[in-house]
């Protein structure tokens, strides 16, 4: 069978930096797989362990906290 695994990754992004960086990736027309989803938070400090675990519980293959 052909290898088609595309990981699902949830990224918690700080509004002020990482979210802006993700915006810039778009503005610069960079490419990344569609399996990456971004959740905007006011600060990476807002992210709780339980939220990260919840993401894994719901099938995320990876979680990124960026800030």
């Amino acid at each position: 069978m052909e290898e088609t695994f595309e990981p699902k990754i949830l990224a918690f992004c700080c509004h002020y930096c990482a979210y802006a960086a993700a915006d810039l990736a778009g503005v610069m027309r960079l490419n990344y797989p569609t399996g990456i989803r971004i959740v905007e938070v006011p600060c990476s400090g807002r992210v709780e362990v339980s939220e990260i675990l919840r993401a894994f519980e719901h099938g995320a293959d990876g979680v990124m906290v960026a800030g």
Binding site: D23, L24, P33, G45, V47
Partner: protein
């Protein structure tokens, strides 16, 4: 309803860099109207080109892209400059030049000419089709000519205004492909220039600086050798949004460099440009540190004359560069760079520490360029009728550092003298403070409100509808943004899918949501379909959320009932090659947004009417200047000074290096202060308690009467200014206190002024610089070198035969102060450098003082037998600084001075709004710098005092005290020190003591909510269930 106003309640700010933007925001906040004129097509100035700032290494990504502000510290500059969040009092005129200035202070008529950009920023949607079809390549000035750009282009990926511009060349006339391909008809190559007259009361010049021309130094190989680049090119290479996405590569072969050299003072401190550019030591250090972080095993060597790390935390940064990063600093000014023509490696010859010549090869050489006056400064000075100094920068008076030679025209930033970002910010706020004093009758004339997250005039809103108890009726608006979104995502399919989702009452496709027609459609649909939740599937929160929040509010809903889905930056633009995947992802994004918007709740702010009174703590030059500026602008001031007399350190400064009379300044300030109808001066008085928040503080002041009794009084005030100054250290080192021939720098000044006869008798004087309490955090006290020069020159004037020797670590005569260093050398003052391994020693030998110092050129110790030794003692924070910090509940920096909200972008603010710091309480500084700083805090204070009301709270953390166990986790977790456990509050189970978070202070980061083990804290708009909803 139009607001009536006097035409001269307006101010012109020339220059849209970081200084101009800061000045504009402060003036706008004080209720004045601002025209911000920038000659380039976009705002941002030099700072926009920088990837990182020293010494914080804050990423300037958000700044360089200028779509947001200046780091995570809010409220900073550019939220007011977001395209859709612009301050209602600021009118931005880009690509515009100043043509004519007539009139006088309070009533100028200014003619400006706007050159066409050929693109209507209101219609440009940044799709980029135009630039893709443009056949013309030109060198990119923003990328310092490292790459090319098209004739139709944007300075940076994100710019302000966020639109393309045409740099029209003859070929454009016949080509016109951009015009025909533009989906919104935004391009018009026939646009004409236009002139406009502006009536303004005052003008602030913030025109920045130009870079030195590296080609003037042909011997260093720039322009001949490909691997010799200049420092701004390096900044672009190191910037993540630069041409190489942050990977520094050798221009000749694209290899990663393993050995990089920086050559300092290129176009500074030489015969032609005799001043110091003030910033190069630090930026070269930063550039080298970034290289070390990114390239394993890279060797970085900086060739310096003196290391000038003279601002807050700069010295610690310099030390870190040497100790942690192993950056090598070599004291040598190189006269030539040679190249190996085969490899394009560069060969540098220089003497090592032993004095032997050595030859080293480098992969890359960076020339640290100095600052020049801005291009066109001479012509503009003529138009404005202002004087320039001999170096071509703006002439200012020592004690009026922000005033030009023409009344009503002020200057800030690097056009006044070379300086870094924090000082530019201070200047800019100070110039704004000066203008507020001039235009005092007009303050508050243009009111704006921060009741909602977008800036808004307080008129014309329909009442907000109460949606509590209603079941969710969600309206989904999908922007086509043709071709940006609908060219990748199948928006029809997404819309059809959305219609099937629970609670969705209405789904609508709009062509361009941000256009007037799109906004109308959304407003109409919200009302017609009785929606109580809104989703806008369009672009970024960061650019357009304020706009759609405004639209939502205009339709009668709380702005927080709207949720944005970033289908552009986070979906269509990054998945261009995968339309099916993008469509699938768009649905997923919409699904989580729906989950979140169902849980959305209104968020409100609390209105505060500010108490129109300022408390100024400290009666030195900074405190007195701040008090006078605030009082002149029309507000009451209570100034407290713990000494019996006003004046602080200024009382002991008798002359300055530049020649002015500080004692006259002192008399003027004291006379104006005590005679001022709005200032109450309380001497022998200290602040013993300070509570409340911005706009509504209370302080208890304790006065000791002449008879020794103490009297306490409470005052209520809207803002607090901390101006408690600094003091000269008087430590028992180098026999100080044991031998009367050893004096401090201030004592020497007393002697020069009051006992010139004693100076006339001297044969030899030795100055020792950088005298420091052992074991303390080392920092540069900034003023000592220049003070030593001024005293050394005085001694030489009074007694030319006296030998004057200065033992120094680094000579820090930054900016135009370099002239006094040159003058001291010209008069025969001898300078000898010492370092940590070779500290001078002093002892008495019979009746003589014997001072032994290491001579680095002779490489041996040399004894001196001076009649007088002057110690440049460290400047420390004044006595009681720690106690006052506790009373005010504000932090101190590691050096012991008050710690500002942000080292670079908010140097005069505390994180706690409404409390400001200026003068030596912030860091050692010169009189003129204290004055600029004091005016800056006065201006900042006036932005609070001039408001009829302002708003606190919003997206802040709230404690449910019935769940709080008072465990102190939030107190420890908060990066801003805001939560308090108050014994008077009742927590879980009726136990005394529960956490309280002041909504006026909370910065809204939510760290406490994540840490709270009892889940007692929630951040509004980011409650647990709202964030969890997006994780599903």
């Amino acid at each position: 309803m139009a607001i009536p106003h006097h035409p001269t309640s307006s101010v012109l700010v020339v220059g849209g860099g970081v200084g101009g933007m800061r000045a504009a925001v402060d003036l706008a906040e004080a209720g004045l109207k601002v025209y911000l004129v920038e000659s380039l097509p976009w705002l941002g100035g030099r700072v926009a080109q920088l990837g990182y700032m020293f010494p914080t290494h804050d990423c300037v990504l958000c700044r360089g892209t200028s779509d947001h502000g200046y780091g995570c510290t809010r409220p900073s500059i550019s939220p007011a400059f977001l395209d859709f969040n612009r301050h209602p009092n600021i009118e931005i005129l880009t690509n515009t030049d100043l043509i004519r200035v007539e009139g006088r202070a309070g009533d100028f008529t200014v003619t400006v000419r706007r050159r066409p950009t050929y693109v209507d920023p209101e219609k440009c949607i940044n799709c980029g089709l135009c630039t893709a079809v443009c056949p013309v390549d030109m060198p990119s000035f923003f990328e310092e000519e490292l790459v090319t750009r098209k004739a139709i282009y944007k300075m940076a990926p994100r710019a302000l205004p966020d639109a393309y511009t045409v740099d029209k060349v003859p070929r454009c006339e016949i080509c016109r492909r951009c015009e025909s391909i533009c989906p919104t008809g935004a391009v018009n190559l026939d646009e004409e220039p236009c002139e406009q007259n502006l009536n303004v009361g005052a003008i602030i010049l913030s025109m920045g600086y130009a870079l030195s021309d590296p080609e003037e130094y042909g011997e260093l190989g720039f322009g001949r050798f490909p691997n010799v680049i200049h420092s701004m090119q390096y900044e672009r290479l190191a910037s993540r949004s630069g041409p190489t996405e942050g990977i520094v590569l050798r221009p000749s072969d694209g290899r990663v460099p393993k050995r990089i050299a920086w050559l300092q003072c290129i176009g500074s401190r030489d015969q032609k440009y005799p001043y110091c550019s003030s910033i190069c030591c630090m930026y070269a250090t930063k550039e080298a540190m970034i290289a070390k972080e990114r390239i394993p095993d890279v060797h970085c060597q900086i060739f310096i004359m003196d290391e000038r790390a003279f601002n807050k935390e700069f010295n610690a940064y310099y030390e870190r560069a040497q100790k942690e990063y192993q950056i090598e600093y070599t004291r040598c000014r190189l006269s030539a760079v040679k190249e190996d023509p085969q490899t394009h490696d560069l060969i540098l010859r220089y003497p090592d520490e032993e004095g032997r010549m050595r030859e080293d090869r480098f992969d890359m050489v960076v020339l640290s360029l100095g600052s020049r006056p801005p291009d066109g400064a001479r012509d503009l000075a003529r138009v404005l009728g202002i004087d320039l100094n001999p170096y071509g920068f703006c002439e200012t008076d020592k004690f009026n550092p922000l005033e030009t030679s023409r009344p009503g025209i002020y200057v800030c930033g690097t056009f006044q003298s070379p300086k870094e970002i924090a000082e530019t910010i201070i200047d800019a706020a100070g110039a704004a403070g000066d203008v507020m004093r001039l235009l005092r009758e007009h303050l508050g004339e243009h009111l704006s409100s921060r009741e909602y997250p977008f800036l808004w005039r307080p008129d014309g809103l329909v009442p907000e509808r109460d949606v509590r108890g209603e079941s969710p009726r969600v309206g989904v608006f999908l922007c086509r943004c043709t071709p940006t979104l609908d060219g990748v995502i199948d928006v029809e399919e997404v819309a059809a899918w959305a219609r099937t989702q629970p609670d969705v009452a209405h789904v609508q496709l709009v062509d361009y949501g941000c256009f007037e027609a799109g906004q109308d459609a959304i407003r109409k649909a919200i009302q017609e379909h009785h929606l109580n939740r809104v989703i806008v599937g369009a672009c970024s929160h960061r650019t357009h959320e304020p706009l759609f929040q405004k639209v939502t509010r205009q339709a009668g809903l709380n702005p927080y009932l709207m949720e944005m889905v970033n289908l552009r930056e986070h979906c269509a633009w990054v998945h261009v090659d995968d339309p099916a995947g993008a469509t699938r992802k768009a649905k997923e994004m919409l699904r989580t947004a729906l989950a979140r918007v169902r849980l959305a709740e209104p968020v409100y702010k609390e209105a505060v009417v500010p108490e129109p009174r300022a408390l100024v703590i400290g009666g030195g030059v900074a405190g007195m200047t701040a008090a006078l500026t605030i009082a002149d602008a029309g507000y009451e001031v209570v100034l407290v000074e713990r000494e019996p007399e006003l004046g602080g350190n200024l009382r002991y400064v008798y002359y300055v290096a530049e020649g002015e009379d500080p004692q006259r300044l002192l008399r003027d300030l004291v006379n104006r202060l005590v005679g001022h109808e709005r200032i109450r001066v309380l001497t022998r008085t200290e602040v013993v308690s300070h509570t409340g928040h911005v706009g509504d503080f209370r302080a208890v002041l304790r006065t000791t009467t002449r008879t020794g009794e103490t009297v306490e009084a409470e005052i209520r005030h809207g803002v607090t200014v901390v101006a408690t100054g600094g003091q000269e250290w008087r430590g028992a080192v180098y026999m100080y206190g044991r031998d009367p021939r050893v004096v401090t720098s201030m004592e020497l000044e007393e002697m020069i002024v009051h006992r010139p006869d004693r100076i006339a008798e001297l044969d030899q004087v030795v100055f020792i610089q950088c005298v420091w309490p052992e074991g303390e955090v080392g920092y540069c006290s900034r003023i000592c070198c220049t003070n030593t020069m001024k005293n050394a020159i005085r001694i030489k004037m009074l007694n030319p035969d006296c030998q004057v020797i200065v033992l120094y670590r680094d000579i820090v005569t930054y900016g135009f102060r370099e002239a006094v260093y040159t003058e001291a050398r010209r008069r025969g003052v001898i300078f000898m450098r010492y370092d940590e391994e070779h500290m001078p020693t002093i002892r008495s030998v019979g009746p003589q003082l014997e001072l032994v110092a290491w001579d680095p050129s002779l490489r041996r110790e040399v004894p001196f037998y001076p009649n007088l030794v002057a110690l440049s003692m460290a400047v420390l924070p004044s006595e009681g600084t720690e106690r006052l910090a506790r009373i005010l509940d504000v932090p101190l920096s590691q050096e012991g001075f008050f710690m500002e909200a942000h080292l670079k972008m908010r140097p005069m603010d505390f994180v706690a709004e409404g409390i400001f710091v200026c003068g030596m309480a912030h860091y050692p500084k010169f009189i003129e710098e204290c004055i600029a700083n004091a005016q800056a805090v006065a201006g900042r204070a006036l932005t609070v005092l001039t408001k009829d009301r302002f708003y606190i709270g919003g997206v802040v953390a709230q404690v449910d005290q019935s769940k709080c166990v008072g465990c102190l986790t939030c107190v420890r977790a908060c990066p801003f020190g805001i939560p308090k456990v108050r014994y008077t509050d009742v927590g879980v189970g009726g136990i005394q003591g529960a956490a309280y978070i002041d909504p006026a202070l909370c910065q809204g980061c939510g760290t406490c909510t994540a840490e709270c083990p009892a889940k007692a804290i929630q951040l509004l708009a980011y409650k647990d269930e709202q964030v969890l909803a997006q994780v599903l």
